[in-house]
Amino acid sequence: MGAPRRFAAALLTAVLRIAPPASREWASAMLRELDFIPGEWAALFWALGSASAIVRHAACNWRQWVTQLNSKREERMNSTGKKTIGVVSGAVSAIMLVACAFGLLRLTSILFPRLGIVNAGWTHILTMIVIPEAIFIAAAVALWRKRRPIAAGILLIAVAIGVHIAVWAAIH
């Protein structure tokens, strides 16, 4: 056995040893064929071509694996992103409702100053706390099954307002 064939065999043996499992059968097939190739240089060129084919096959498999991994990660991120958007939109809707209630109260006090709404504490409690909290709970119950993140966002604001009132009541 001449030097080129020895080198060819050594190269393919090394490739077989380091090849990933998916490419190993093919690397082995190429190594076995080497025994049937007449000519030292033909064997060497066969081994060089085979080694490059195995490297490309392994690289292709590796790229597929990385792509699959990335798509799974992206899917997970998409799911988390959707949930976050749901919670944020629920919270924003709840805040907007409270802001609207506050705006209506202020507008009523400006349009009808004689009613004395500004000085009446119960109107604040009713429009800013009781009615919005009732709406929040009703909306959260209605949305819990189909739009759970939005319901969670609404409940978050309801709890925040509740805590705010509790702290205010404790201080005063």
């Binding site: 059968e25 093919w26 082995s28 097939a29 190429m30 076995r32 064929e33 025994d35 049937f36 190739i37 060129f45 066969w46 081994a47 060089l48 071509g49 085979s50 490059s52 084919a53 195995i54 490309r56 096959h57």
Partner: protein, 101 residues
Amino acid sequence: MKPRLSPQTLEVIDALLAAPREWQYGYDISRNTGLKSGTLYPILMRMADRKLLETRWEASEPGKPPRHMYRFTPEGLRFARANSPAQPAGSRRVALSLENG
């Protein structure tokens, strides 16, 4: 729509179609098509991955290591017949062998 196949892939398909029921060795396909191993094996690997080609090991001679062999799967054979430029199968190879005497 027919898939776009490279001339080298068509060469391999043509070589395997010459004897569709028989197992063929990698080196024999390389010799028949004139393709180097670096071109031939990626084609065989892709075809095997797509279940167009079946592979098996065969101990060709006692004392010699087993060789890897290839032939079309039934699906591969249908695909090859639908996409081979040489119809009927093997006619081009027969013509070549006749030309070469």
